[in-house]
């Protein structure tokens, strides 16, 4: 657990995967100086984070222009869901106890997974660290993070070994920030210098994990999670009207249980369950009076997956998931929708020394009930996916890969039932993804310890895109859009050893994405780049380890984007570059160690925008002290 940077590397899974897979281990995350999951995800090629700015600002992940609702976020093996909006705000996850982040695009290689993991176009998986005790019966770490705009974030983790193979771990953190950062805008020729207001945030997070290794190669893990937050919503910058009073309160509790049994090297079983409760209160004081809305949703989820390898190299899996979701709100005309989802996935994989083929078929059945009005009709769909990875030259680390996935998203409760705008006649929004790529990984010399390279070209087609459309006063969610995306992802990572204890690690990602509206040839939108999708984006990271201090430089870039579907100049959002530098050092004495880190973020100091009229904070600093025992 102490920040030991592991430089010895096995072949990363990302190179042998049949579909694009990117992964960041704990050491990579620490090097990035990332405070939040979102800061790290920005470094994945093909992922874009929609960030409303500041610590309290919502952050969602979209993969290859498909939209956040097509990205599943998975926390320790179980999907995090939001049936109301269909998108997960990743700002609520702390990076403190995260051991790895990975992003899979399309059909992954792992078939020993719950059916739900196959049910979206991309999966962002967050894995928390399992305590590694060594000889000690317990582990302890305490961290204090402080930074600009009133950020204070103490956290504590403790893990105890209770017996052979049984461990209990606690993680807790508190975060507060004023978030009232200054920003500069120009309206025409008029300069606006102001501060974000009503952007304070307080969060409490707690997590308990119980790990048990049982006889007969069985593993059990139970988790309880608690999250409370209260924050101001500063809203967009509205010219001549800086008023912002809206407050958002969130409560989220969930408990999950994962069980895994390896009966033999050829048979294994995985089962799990989760109960999730989410409560939000959105209150605003307006001239017409108070608006105070509450939302409550629950999810009950059960899953079981059986994996077998009846013939050498040929494996199968069968996964069965069930989920129940409900939503109740205090909005007028709430219909109290309930949803039952049944997912069945059958997958097969053939592994050979030179190639690996994976195919899966997912069956989805969704039925809904409402207490008031009419529910949406049942939905049934079969979704195939396929991937292939091939190593043409046995002795070389060069691979070719190809994958295809046909998947969809069910309309969210907001899409279907939101007051007036909702439309129960919506069809699912479908996506089809094709990817071909090549990877190469190897060691060139004793200096170039490793070099990994991947290049992928892809084509996506989105049909029946769900969009709010106005028709004479009435805004309705409708299936109107068709989007075609052509893109290229490039990832490079290299490790250079200059001398013993002098190492340098370089990584870069680039993404080209042409995501165009192809709904109607006669429309003004024909072949316009879709909203909030940069044609070019990239990231880079250069980390230097020396015996005294580790230094990392990070950069994230996105080209121009458009705020509205029509690509006119007044909709354009300027390109941005975000540079940051982190320094850290670990001091050790006896069993104790202390890690000191300083981060300087957005060095340029520009209030660039990811979402138009939501300025990002300018230059800011963070200091972190972590004590490990």
């Amino acid at each position: 657990m102490p920040g030991v940077t592991v430089t010895g590397r096995r072949l990363p899974a990302s190179l042998s995967a049949g579909a694009p897979l990117q992964r960041m281990e704990r050491c990579d995350l620490e090097r990035l100086g990332a405070l939040e999951v979102a800061d790290a995800v920005r470094h994945f090629a093909g992922a874009s984070v929609k960030d409303y700015g500041g610590i309290g600002g919502m952050k969602t992940v979209s993969v290859r222009s498909l939209g956040a609702q097509h990205t599943a976020v998975c926390y320790d093996g179980v999907a995090v869901s939001d049936c109301q909006s269909g998108q997960v705000d990743i700002s609520r996850f702390s990076l403190d106890n995260v051991s790895a982040l990975s992003l899979t695009i399309g059909q992954g290689d792992d078939i020993f997974l719950p059916a739900r993991m196959l049910a979206s176009a991309g999966v962002l998986a967050i894995e928390t660290a399992r305590p590694d005790f060594g000889r000690s019966p317990f582990r302890l770490s305490a961290k204090v993070k402080a930074g600009s705009f009133g950020l204070a974030n103490p956290s504590l983790s403790a893990a105890f070994r209770l017996g052979r193979g049984v461990a209990l771990a606690f993680d807790g953190d508190y975060l507060r920030a004023d978030g009232n950062y200054p920003f500069e805008y120009v309206n025409g020729t008029k300069r606006i210098e102001a501060k974000r207001n009503n952007s304070d945030i307080q969060t409490y997070r707690g997590e308990v994990n119980l790990y048990a290794s049982l006889r007969g190669d069985q593993e059990l893990r139970a988790k309880a999670y608690l999250f409370h937050s209260g924050r101001g919503l500063p809203g967009s910058v509205v010219y001549d009207n800086p008023y912002a009073e809206e407050r958002l309160h969130d409560r989220n509790y969930f408990g999950q249980l994962n069980y895994e049994a390896h009966f033999s090297p050829r048979w294994k079983l995985k089962a799990g369950g989760k109960f999730n409760y989410t409560w939000n209160r959105d209150a605003d004081r307006k001239a017409a009076g108070w608006q105070d809305d509450r939302f409550k949703q629950t999810e009950t989820y059960l899953t079981a997956t059986l994996w077998g390898e009846p013939l050498r190299g040929l494996s199968f899996s069968l996964a069965q998931d069930f989920a129940y979701n409900d939503l109740s709100t205090t909005l007028a005309n709430c219909q109290y929708p309930e949803r039952y989802t049944v997912l069945t996935a059958l997958a097969a994989q053939y592994r050979h020394a030179a190639f690996r083929m994976t195919a899966s078929l997912l069956n989805t059945y969704v039925t809904e009930r409402v207490r008031v009005g009419e529910p949406a009709g049942d939905r049934k769909r079969l979704s195939p996916a396929f991937s292939l990875s091939w190593r043409p030259v046995r002795s070389a680390g060069w691979r070719l890969r190809a994958s295809y996935k046909d998947i969809f998203r069910v309309p969210t409760f907001n899409d279907l039932y939101y007051r007036l705008i909702g439309n129960t006649r919506l069809r699912p929004e479908t996506t089809r993804q094709w990817n071909v790529g090549t990877t190469w990984g190897g060691r060139i010399s004793s200096v170039w310890e490793s070099l990994d390279l991947s290049v992928d070209a892809y084509y996506n087609k989105v049909r029946d895109k769900i969009v709010a459309v106005p028709t004479m006063f009435v805004w309705k969610m409708s299936n109107v859009g068709e989007v075609e995306t052509i893109g290229v992802d490039v990832n490079v990572a290299a490790g250079v050893r200059v001398a013993e204890e002098w190492r340098c690690r370089l990584s870069a990602a680039y993404n080209f994405m042409q995501a165009e509206d192809v709904t109607d040839r006669g429309s003004k939108l024909w072949r316009n780049q879709i909203v909030y999708t940069p044609r070019h984006s990239g990231s880079g990271s250069l980390a230097w380890s020396t015996p005294w201090v580790d230094v990392t430089y990070n950069v994230v870039y996105a080209s121009e984007r458009y705020r509205m579907p029509q690509n006119t100049a007044d909709n354009r959002i300027r390109p941005y570059v975000d540079h940051s530098v982190s320094l850290f050092r670990t001091l050790r004495w006896g069993k104790h160690s202390l890690r000191l880190q300083a981060d300087a973020l957005n060095l340029d100091g520009k209030n660039y925008e990811i979402v138009r009229f939501y300025p990002m904070p300018g230059r800011n600093y963070k200091f972190t002290v972590t004590y490990y025992l």
């Binding site: 120009v186 307006k286 001239a287 009005g373 028709t471 006119t568």
Partner: protein, 375 residues
């Protein structure tokens, strides 16, 4: 980005001017100057009662700070870029709700920015009024305007109508009228104010202009909203949007259709005129666009003869994805209809009185009002 914000508008203006320069009449797409001397460099278009120009208000997108005002030159049929941005060095703001031409000045309510801009006819700001609740703490989101007797009256979401003296440009009074007041008009010494109740209201509030007090509420159909105007016949016309007739789970006896109603300002009695979503009046004619989202077969556009009650089909609504404004040029009888699909600039189609398409032009986002200059 912010500096370039008005460049397309400027470019459009320059293009407009170039087009105008080749015009024999020497007309430009710049709006007419004020009667009392005007602004230097402004050419007076047209003379007499001829309507020579029209302002186009583009509401813009919610949170987009992209409301604009354009000028359409009726003689050479050219549309200018945004007038407000270049004239003032800053954009009009967020959600231009209403535009009113009264005397020598233009008035614009900007809801999102919660202000009322008083401008000369070139959209140069004379005064900006930040509209707030009485304690000055909360933006009150001004909505619609009507003008009479040297005052401009405007509704705001604090449930009031305010009186702006057009000489002193000061607010001289404020009266509570009801929840979420929207469009209003004046007739027979009274103000008629749609009380939308954010979709739950079903009244028109009456305010006596002389005493500036609310005198009564008139019951109308559910959700009177963005349209309340005084017809050429002196009646007050108001459109109620109803309750989304045909919504799943709603039985037919619960339907409240979008309806145009007529209030006699002498007696304050109400009668239904016809089903309508948008309406514009010219003489004996009422131009009506009608559609119920859940009852697509109801979709139609027609001209209602207010004398005979005869309905004649007008333009083809199938050409539109989402009509959002209709206006009739009082001197020529030409009908202007703005189509405002989401996320794209509006298209304005111009028809003659018989419904024949004359021309089309592109305006800004969510075009919501045409203001004809009638000299």
């Amino acid at each position: 980005m912010k500096k370039m914000w008005y460049k397309p508008a400027l470019a459009a203006l320059v293009l407009g001017l170039c087009a105008a320069c080749s015009d024999d009449d020497g007309n430009t797409t710049t709006p007419p100057g004020e009667g009392d001397g005007g602004e230097p460099g402004v050419v007076e278009p047209g003379t007499g009662t001829k309507t020579a120009g029209m302002y186009v208000l583009n509401t813009g997108n919610w949170g987009g700070n992209d409301a604009t005002i354009q000028y359409f030159n009726l003689e050479n049929l050219s549309i200018s870029g945004d007038l407000f941005g270049p004239a003032n060095g800053a954009g009009l703001g967020d959600l231009g709700q209403d535009l009113c031409l009264y005397g020598s000045k233009l008035y614009a309510t900007v809801s999102g920015s919660s202000k009322l801009e008083v401008m000369d006819r070139n959209c140069k700001v004379i005064k900006t009024l930040h509209v707030t609740t009485d304690d000055g703490q909360t933006p009150a989101e001004p909505r619609y305007m009507t003008a009479c007797g040297g005052n401009v009256y405007f509704t705001a979401y604090d449930g009031t109508v305010s009186r702006l003296d057009t000489a002193s440009l000061e607010i001289t009074g404020k009266v509570a009228v009801g929840d979420h007041p929207e469009a209003l008009t004046n007739a027979n010494g009274k103000l008629y104010v749609n009380i939308s109740g954010y979709g739950t209201g079903a009244t028109v509030a009456v305010v006596d202009v002389a005493s500036f007090t609310k005198t009564k509420d008139i019951a109308v159909k559910l959700n009177p909203y963005t349209q309340c105007f005084t017809g050429d016949d002196g009646y007050v016309y108001t459109v109620s949007n109803g309750n989304y007739a045909g919504s799943p789970g709603m039985s037919e006896d619960q339907y409240v259709y979008g309806t145009l109603q007529r209030i006699d300002p002498a007696t304050d009695t109400v009668e239904d005129v016809c089903r309508a979503t948008f309406a514009a009046n010219h003489g004996d004619k009422m131009y009506v666009l009608y559609s119920e989202y859940y009852l697509p077969e109801t979709k139609r556009a027609f001209v209602l003869d207010l004398k005979t009650g005869e309905e004649t089909d007008f333009l083809n609504l199938g050409d539109f994805s989402s009509p959002n404004a209709i206006g009739v040029n009082p001197s020529t009888g030409d009908v202007y209809v703005a189509d405002t699909p989401y996320g794209v600039n509006s298209t304005v189609r111009v028809y003659d009185a018989q419904g024949k398409l004359k021309n089309t032009f592109e305006a800004g986002y969510s075009t919501s009002k045409f203001v004809f200059i009638n000299e």
